[in-house]
């Protein structure tokens, strides 16, 4: 977090020095200052250093999210446009390992945007996420694949 504040402050300096207050100049300055801070990485304490790994992981998380949206839309399109409806809907209870509000929200959003699943509700004690699946041949397989890909991706950016 501190590294991010430094980055913004340095960028403001950059904009002052170059005398141009446009968004594109802000982005250029931000990237430059990020590189400079990257050189100064050893000076930060461990929690602030997380900023640098996040700068790499967040775009990857965003890309994963977009990719899942494309995949799931294609799956839905295939199911909707095929002459016979080959769906096998069902409600599954998905055991959560993530705990905080942010993590559960991110995971639930990701689950909704991935092929064939839609998060419905979280149990009051936050142990189970109820999911509606469109193609539930094997509930355990759905749970396993969600756990392996999505929950891992969420944990990577939040912890």
């Amino acid at each position: 977090m501190r590294a991010f504040v430094y980055n913004v402050v340095l960028t403001v300096f950059w904009m002052l020095v170059t005398e141009s207050f446009t968004l594109s100049n802000f982005l250029v300055g931000f990237a430059l200052c990020f590189l400079i801070l990257l050189l100064a990485r050893p000076l930060f304490d461990a929690p602030s250093r997380r900023y640098f790994t996040l700068a790499w992981k967040l775009p990857r998380f965003g890309a994963l999210m977009l990719w899942e949206i494309v995949l799931s839309s294609l799956r839905v399109a295939q199911a909707v446009l095929s002459p016979r409806l080959s769906i096998k809907p069902g409600f599954i209870a998905y055991p959560l390992t993530v705990k905080s509000d942010l993590e559960i929200t991110l995971l639930a959003n990701l689950i909704t945007l991935t092929p064939g699943t839609l998060s419905l509700d979280v149990s009051t004690d936050r142990k189970v996420l109820y999911v509606h699946g469109m193609f539930v041949d094997d509930p355990q397989a759905v749970i396993q694949s969600t756990h392996d890909s999505l929950e891992k991706a969420v944990l990577e950016v939040t912890r």
Binding site: V76, A79, V80, I87, F91, L113, L118, D121, V122, M134
Partner: protein, 127 residues
């Protein structure tokens, strides 16, 4: 060149919106319908917004189009969750094909939701 890209993006966006619309008509029950609207709808609107950003090639337009896209991606699943939960609570029946219903009977009178015991699958990466 840019024009062709815009045409392709808009055409794809319209295609996915059409898929979402057909899905709403064809799917057997509310929960399956929401699959169509929340996924294909998000992608369709998203592609059209990207096409707008590409077409105008202005920073202010692009910033607004992309932030609209970000908000749609963030809020569409929340809307689906709210709709699904409300309709399950008010007793909308899932269709007859529904394979399993592990949610049945877990809602209490005060709309609190019980959890069930399930083992967390072990992750292959952690040792």
């Amino acid at each position: 060149m840019i024009e062709l890209l815009v045409y392709a993006l808009v055409a794809l966006g319209i295609f996915f919106l059409l898929v979402a619309a057909i899905g709403v008509v064809r799917m057997p029950d509310l929960y399956n319908r929401m699959h169509a609207t929340s996924k294909a709808g998000t992608l369709g609107v998203g592609l059209i917004l990207v096409a707008v950003a590409v077409f105008y090639q202005e920073l202010s337009v692009a910033a607004r189009a992309l932030s609209a896209l970000a908000f749609i991606i963030l809020t569409a699943p929340v809307a689906a969750h709210a709709l699904g939960r409300a309709s399950y609570l008010s007793g909308v029946k899932p269709c007859e094909d529904t394979y399993i219903d592990e949610l049945a009977g877990h809602y209490q009178k005060n709309h609190k939701l019980e959890s069930v015991d399930k083992t967390t699958p072990s992750s292959p990466t952690e040792s």
